[in-house]
Amino acid sequence: MFTHNLTIICVLGTLAGPALAQEGARTVAALPETLEETGERAPAEVPQSSAEEVGDIVPANTAYGVGQPASEDEIAAIDIDVMPDGRGLPEGSGTYAEGEKLYETICATCHGADMMGVSELGAPQLIGGRGTLASDQPVKTVESYWPYASTFFDYTHRAMPMTEAGSLSADEVYAISAYVLGKAGITGSEAATTLDAESMAKIVMPNADGFVADPRPDIGE
């Protein structure tokens, strides 16, 4: 029974493999082709440097002539990180009022209308908890724990919402930031309170000084 299946697999491997590859829609690997005369399986193709594909060994100043220079456009297309000093923050802006609407539509399902989180969904509480970090019941939230506002922008932009990761525009993330940080009492909670690259970089979070370098080994010696 299994022998029979094997025969079919072999035939498909040799015939269908190359045919599918030509269509360019292959989403699984074909079995390796068999060599003439001996019937051995062919080894994988020798990897081709992308530098060779473009005709020259580029860049010539590297030892291997492998890979290519990355263009500014190629980098810009995926360079989404934001740093505490504001480097990487995109153009755009959003208000508390816009953020409130967006939050209710996009964020509240998981994080709760009151931003207190929904534990059954694994969605954490976003605000509150100030003053609890040294207690027996520390509540770690954006408000009480996160040291930089940039982190909130960066993470929300790259990975939220979970059901449609990375779908929010820069304006939307500024607006949601204005609403969440406003609700946290970190930035203003007037409807017109606006966040953009400049104002975002100036925010000082409540727990900005709460982190220390790793002192380990702290025991065991």
Binding site: F2, T3, N5, L6, I9, T27, P47, S49, S50, A51, P59, N61, T62, Y64, V66, G67, Q68, P69, A70, E74, I75, I78, D79, I80, D81, M83, P84, S119, E120, L121, G122, L133, A134, S135, P138, K140, Y145, W146, P147, Y148, S150, T151, D154, Y155, R158, A159, M162, A165, G210, F211, V212, A213, D214, P215, R216, P217, D218, I219, G220, E221
Partner: protein
């Protein structure tokens, strides 16, 4: 179980090690063969008819399984998913109790995902290296495979390994208490090779590593680590990475906490400062009793655990058992492992299977005769830096109960007179 010192315990004898116990370990597997009903074969296995007498008829034909191979239908070890609320951001644990030697089968390597397991076509996947470099570079998977490579055997341990065990014994098995560590051979390009090609500028101090999963997972890595022993890995245990381990490309930072080994690696951004991503601020930072949090707690301190006997097993009777387990350190080689059967009152040095590799699981073994009376088994390792694996009390005294990560305390397994093995704080 705090005071078991008065209990009698077994003796460590000089018997040569023989694997009398292995039959016991595998017993679980025979459960599925118990019923004659045609159960579905365990994951990774194919069910074949069991021959009445395999010496009297030909066995199945070569390549019957298609040419990749499969494990015996009588073997059933699987990873176990910790019941997090969200299945997208979750983890699964290696069944250490049945593990042999130091290598983890690729299919049993623990997993931690923050946005599920992406399916990525290696023909279109690229790695971009940019930031504070003289020449930003773009590499295809083929490019990376053309470069000089290294193969190294290293453990990866999640810094959350054991997080359920701070306040009280919670999970019952060694898979639950310690299963977020695994060892593989990893092959790829040294990160220093790529950085030298791009030309790192003098101001560079950190590198952001970014994955191509739905979490677009990011961590900042010190440039010194990147230039030291970091690997941009495309292979695991002799074949391409498993998808859940980052196919087609992952970062490997030997000895560092697992979440920094960014999987599905797509971008490296060289900078002068750390990026302060979510995973190095709100998560994977260690809250201390005074309310401050330790950040960039990157190296995994030395740790060991006895995997046999271990929690939820039952020793069938008094007699000889080989006590065995694994030890590892993110700071180098394991120098020594001691084993106690009396809750730490007396210690006996275990034998280490060689070669002992740096930042790698190390298998230890010690013959033991259990007298049938109450005992508490513990292991305690020392690494080549002289660091001694602490007790839980020592850890809690310094770090309190709210730091979540980096629990590397001595583990205690209580052996009851009836042979039941349970997870205890002793």
């Amino acid at each position: 179980m705090r005071k078991t010192a008065t209990a009698k315990w077994g003796m460590f004898n000089g018997l040569t090690r023989r694997s009398l116990l292995m039959g016991g370990v595998v017993l679980g597997g025979s459960a599925l063969a118990g019923g004659r009903a045609r159960a579905e074969a365990p994951p990774g296995a194919i069910e074949y008819d069991v021959q009445t007498d395999p010496t009297k008829e030909q066995g199945r034909l070569i390549l019957d399984d298609g040419g990749y191979g499969s494990r015996s239908q009588f073997e059933n070890e699987v990873r176990w998913r910790y019941p997090t609320a969200s299945p997208d951001s979750s983890w699964s644990m290696t069944p250490l109790a049945s593990g042999q030697g130091i290598m983890t089968p690729s299919g049993l390597h623990f997993e931690r995902h923050h946005g599920g397991i992406p399916t990525i076509d290696p023909r279109t996947h690229e790695l971009i290296l940019h930031g504070m470099v003289n020449q930003p570079m773009r590499f295809t998977m083929d490019d990376l495979k053309r470069l000089p490579a290294v193969s190294k055997i290293h453990f990866i341990e999640c810094s959350g390994n054991g997080l359920t065990e701070w306040a009280k014994p919670t999970l019952k098995t060694v898979q639950g208490t310690h299963g977020l560590t695994s060892t593989s051979e990893w092959t790829g390009v040294r990160l220093s090779t790529l950085l030298e090609m791009a030309g790192v500028q003098d101001t560079a101090a950190w590198i952001l590593a970014e994955g191509a999963d739905a979490a677009v997972m990011t961590r900042s890595v010190p440039i010194d680590k990147a230039m030291d022993d970091a690997i941009v890995a495309y292979a695991q245990n002799g074949e391409a990475l498993r998808p859940e381990q980052g196919y087609p490309l992952r970062l490997l930072l030997p000895g560092y906490e697992g979440n920094t080994h960014i999987k599905w690696l797509r971008r490296l951004d060289v900078s002068d400062k750390p990026f302060m991503t979510r995973e190095e601020t709100s998560k994977y930072s260690d809250l201390m009793p005074d309310g401050t949090a330790r950040q960039f707690t990157l190296e995994m301190d030395a740790k060991s655990v006895i995997t046999f006997p271990s929690g939820a097993m039952k020793l069938p009777r008094a007699g000889f058992y080989e006590v065995t387990g694994i030890a590892w350190s993110g700071r180098g080689k394991i120098a020594k492992v001691d084993v106690s059967a009396d809750g730490g009152a007396t210690w006996h040095e275990a034998a280490l299977d060689g070669p002992v590799l740096p930042k790698c699981h190390t298998r230890f073994r010690l013959p033991w005769t259990w007298t049938g009376e109450e005992a508490v088994l513990q292991s305690r390792t020392v690494d080549e830096t002289g660091y001694v694996q602490p007790t839980l009390e020592q850890l809690i005294e310094v770090r309190g109960l709210k730091s979540v990560y980096h629990l590397n305390a001595i583990q205690s397994w209580h052996i009851a007179p009836d042979g039941e093995v349970t997870n205890v704080h002793a």
